[in-house]
Amino acid sequence: MSQNDPQWGGGRNKGNNGGPPDLEDIFRSITDKFNRLVGGKGSPSNPSSMNGNGGSTGALVIAAGLFVLWVGSGVYVVDERENAVITRFGKYTKTVENAGLNWHLPYPIESREIVNVTELRSLEVGVRGAAAAGDESTMLTGDQNIIEVQLEVQYNLNSARDFLFNNRLTDKDGRDVVKQAAETAIREVVGKNKVDYVLNEGRGKIGEDTKEMIQELLTKYQTGISVSRVNISDVQPPEQVQAAFSDAVKARQDRARLINEGTAYANDVVPKASGMAARLNEEALGYRQQVVARAEGDASRFRQIAAEYAKAPQVTRDRMYLDTMQTVYQNTTKVMVDQKANGNLLYLPLDKLMQMNAQGESPAPAPAVKAAVEAPAPQPNETPAARNDRGQRDGR
């Protein structure tokens, strides 16, 4: 009996294609049809009410009031974030996306279902220690390790029609279907990767892959859901092995630390060696200059004296000899021994002499010694002789 449908909606549909502006049209046609139906005799409704056949006037007013209420039940409001899906006798007719006041043919002809499309819904997958099925967050990686992953899926709708009609959902947000898709997707993605990748560098990539896969599944089931975001909120090795894992992380730090220490050592040693090399270089330069300068000085001195010597060799030679001997004798302790006169064994208390000289360096005896040595030639016998005597006495 589907021919019935166009009969009812045919005239309206033709005029209705333009949308809201045709409301009046629809209204009029509906009124006509209704009246024809109710009136049975097909008498034009409006004029009849004007005629007012006595007691029927009140009833007509009530009927009109009811009619207005009935028509008014088709008015609905669509929020900016919502879409309204209109069904006529249960058959999908259109999705209203325009926000604001709208009207559809009243019950039982058309009905509306308003769905929040843009609202971001979110759900968590992998709540740790979930009572029902053990640890929901544990999953196996490709290298058969176990890790715990928690993720958050955010989604909204991209088709209110698909969302309403294509899947049997247990709640109005379709959490079930998203959760199933998310669980299978994350496990499949994790199962394809190795534990290190999942734990470290692969986190972002895994989020993306998972999102893609969830979307793929939801599209396949024509759910009208679009996944806007998948956050991998937590990836961890299970508690039982966490210590070992964190030790491995520590080991990575240790490796870096050791290398840094080595570098620090190198950075200390090499520049120091360069410094030392520079020092050696400078010292050598200094030595070279010093040696040459000294040589030049010495040579110059010698040349000059040699020039004078050439003029009067004998005198110069004697003078130099005596001068030198004088200086030598002045500055040293002398013991004069006449070996020819005294062939016996000679005992010299050298240590005592040394001690005396050491003391002699103190101011008091110095002048005396100096005075004594000052003129060795004029009074040669005095001091050395006395010492000699004493030495001989001691020796005996």
């Binding site: 009996m1 589907s2 019935n4 009812w8 109710v38 029927s56 069904t87 006529r88 006798f89 249960g90 058959k91 099925a133 196996l140 490709g142 176990i146 309403l164 009609f165 294509n166 899947n167 049997r168 199933q180 299978t184 496990r187 199962g191 089931y221 299970p238 039982q240 070992a244 491995a248 080991a251 240790d254 490796r255 050791l258 290398i259 080595g262 060696a273 090399a277 520079a278 050696l280 270089n281 010292e283 050598a284 030595y287 070279r288 200059q289 040696v291 040589a295 030049e296 010698f302 004296i305 040699a306 050439a310 130099m320 040293t332 013991v335 006449d338 010299l348 002499l353 000289n357 030639a377």
Partner: protein
Amino acid sequence: MNRIMPLLAALFLGLFIFSTTFFTLDQRKYAVVFQFSEAVRVIKDPGFHFKIPLLQEVRYFDKRIQTIDEEAPARIQTIEKMNVKADSFIKYQIVDVEKYYKAVGVDEKKAVDRLRNTVNNMLRDEFGKRTVQDVISGQRDEVMNLVRKVADADAARIGVQVLDVRIKRVELEDSTLNSVYERMQSERKAVASQLRAEGSAAAEKIKADADKQREVILADAYNQAQQMKGEGDAKAAAIYAESYGKNPEFYAFYKSLDAYKQSFAKKSDVMVIDPSADFFKYMKNPRAGSGK
């Protein structure tokens, strides 16, 4: 009033007949019209429909995709005789209502059980041919597809299409779990010690290299320094030779005197002198020089 009452009565009667004659079919459903329990018509188009009042009766079936989500994971053995817990879900949809009704009736639980059994058996078969590794990563898709295909073929007999079979979770049993944890720990230990050893090795290399560099730098520096000193010495020697060479005899004398002076410069130097030395010749005899 007299005119209103029959009017109302007629209206209600009309509505009653209307409601028994027509029915609406929701977008989400199929309708099957039964006449004396015989399915005479299957309606797939949603909308406004007619039936013969009193004789015919309409039953509705869900047109949407439905899910069978296992509550408890199934224990399945893999080829290594390892027990795993597999949790899966099935997405299906009724496509042939007539067949479906004949096979299942109105109680969808029968259909669910049938699908579930088929899928579970298939999973068991497929897991039994594969290792845990394959089931988890390598051939997961393959297993799912195979199972879906078989389940779909089977379900077609009851007018149902299996859209998807997904393995949600594959978990190891608690007993295996512990050995896995132990293995993971040992793996980490290996990694950790390797990292540390790498660190020491690298550090040692860097240090050794630094030491080598130091030695090289210092040796080079020594080399250069010695060369420079040598240059200095050589130049000095040349200067000495050039100037002293003019009068070697006098130089010997001059240098000797200098050396005497330098050698006997301290009071602690004790000289034992023989008065017969040339130096003292005047001490003995003031006229010694003239005799000469």
